[in-house]
């Protein structure tokens, strides 16, 4: 080996070692930096943990406060409903006497009643009944508003429900000129609802439909709709976005009656709303029935709405949970409801 070659080799060796050292130093400094970052991160993590602990204990306190408030509210609700029960009793008792005695007088138990007096007795009797109905509706609406009405949710078969509603709803048809039909989808499942309450709502809708249909048909319908991501299979309606994914039963009450003017359709579920039109006394309600219906359906987490065009009849729609749906997706909520009930 030539001395010149050795010098070169030495330089190369020196260079390599220098490069190696620089590399090592760089690596160390990076490591140190990373370690630094590591320490910082650990510190931050600690801080987060600490905050989380604080939030957790705050949350526990809040939960306690909420629990206490809930207890107080339910006690307050109880006091209020006891007050209402008493008030109800003291209003109903004299009203029942007014209605009862006018009925007895008209029946001739106390002797024959001449015609002019008889006509006045009919007014007393009818007014007493109107007042009683008015009072009961007001009380019910109030109970719904303060949340003291609890639903008894259980599976409800549609067909027998419709049978009872058809019989009850037809009672207002004095001329016998309205036919009540049923249109139920084959193999329809059960509703998951408070049977008495749904019957009450449907009966009100059918009686209304009969009152506003002088001659024609009232149809009770039921069909299943599957809702997914705010869309449904082949059935569109304005309130679709309000329904959670899953299976729903749509109950309908359609009539071939006078219809509801479009400007009135948004307001008919409001308290004391009356569609401004010439109505016979027989057709006039006190305007609380639909407000009660809406609140009862919403208490079921369902939706109620109307479609109508003047002169061509109206259709009321009610979307309610199916029993299948409840079993599949709603166990948690059902448990909560049961808990609230007990």
């Amino acid at each position: 080996m030539q001395p010149a070659d050795m010098v070169i080799a030495l330089w190369v060796a020196l260079g390599l070692s220098l490069a190696y050292n620089v590399y090592q130093a760089l690596k160390r400094s990076q490591l140190a930096k990373r370690l630094d970052i590591g320490a910082e991160q650990t510190e931050q993590l600690e801080r987060f943990r600490h905050e989380l602990r604080n939030v957790r204990s705050e949350l526990a306190n809040e939960t306690q406060v909420v629990e206490t408030l809930k207890r107080q509210l339910s006690e307050e609700g109880k006091t209020r409903s006891t007050f209402l029960d008493h008030m109800s009793y003291f209003v109903r008792s004299p009203l029942n006497l007014i209605i009862g005695y006018s009925d007895m007088l008209m029946s001739g138990i106390y002797g024959d009643i001449p015609e002019p007096q008889r006509a006045k007795l009919i007014v007393i009797h009818r007014s007493g009944n109107d007042l009683l109905k008015y009072f009961s509706d007001m009380l019910e609406l109030h109970r719904l508003e303060i949340g003291s009405i609890e639903l008894k949710l259980r599976p409800v078969a549609v067909q027998p429900l419709f049978e009872r509603v058809a019989v009850e709803g037809a009672k207002g048809d004095r001329r016998g000129a309205v036919e009540i039909k049923q249109d139920i989808e084959a193999d329809i499942g059960n509703l998951f609802a408070d049977e008495k309450r749904v019957e009450q709502v449907l009966t009100h809708l059918v009686s209304n439909a009969v009152r506003f249909t002088r001659k024609g048909t009232v149809t009770l319908g039921a069909r299943t709709v599957k809702v997914k991501d705010g869309k449904s299979d082949g059935f569109t309606f304005p309130m679709l976005g309000w329904l959670r994914d899953g299976e729903w039963i749509i109950l309908t009450v359609s009539d071939t009656g006078v219809g509801i003017p479009s400007e009135a359709q948004a307001s008919i579920f409001e308290t004391f709303y009356q569609v401004a039109r010439d109505q016979t006394d027989e057709q006039k309600g006190i305007g609380l029935g639909l407000a009660i219906a809406k609140r009862l359906i919403e208490l079921h987490r369902g939706v109620i709405w109307v479609k109508s065009s003047e002169g061509q009849g109206s259709t009321f729609f009610i979307a309610l949970n199916t029993h299948r749906n409840i079993r599949a997706t709603d166990t948690q909520e059902r448990l909560l409801m049961n808990e609230a009930k007990s």
Binding site: D85, S88, Y89, R92, S93, L95, N96, L97, I99, G100, Y101, D103, M104, S107, I109, Y110, G128, N129, L132, S136, K196, R197, Q200
Partner: protein
């Protein structure tokens, strides 16, 4: 002539009582009157009636308790009970039937409804 059927009327409100008695008399029934739950039990035991017309809100012992006691008594449980109540609330009827009442009429009393139910139970 056949003896009139005897009905025990349990009602604390005088005006309501007159109304019911007038109706029952016009339907040709004999009546016995109790103004509270305890008196109702005493009278029922002394001379069992053929039917009990029972108001549910009563002093001393409420109507539900009276119904339960009558149905617990081997000598009296065959007597039909028709409950009368001004609480025309949902679920009230069920509560009365659970307590042992055989039927339920809500106030205001519908003359035709009550007459029909009495005739059914006493035929």
């Amino acid at each position: 002539m056949m003896d009139k059927k005897r009905i025990l009327v349990v009602e604390d409100n005088k005006d309501n009582l007159t109304l019911i008695l007038d109706l029952l008399e016009s339907l040709d029934y004999a009546t016995v009157v109790a103004g509270d739950g305890e008196q109702a039990m005493t009278l029922a035991r002394e001379a069992p009636p053929e039917l009990v017309l029972l108001d549910l809100s009563l002093p001393l012992m409420d109507g539900w308790t009276v119904a339960r006691k009558l149905k617990d008594d081997a000598d009296l449980k065959h007597i039909p009970i028709i409950a009368l109540s001004a609480h025309a609330m949902l679920g009230d009827k069920e509560k009365a039937l659970e307590a042992g009442c055989d039927d339920y009429v809500s106030k205001p009393i519908n003359i035709r409804e009550l007459s029909l139910k009495l005739a059914q139970r006493l035929s």
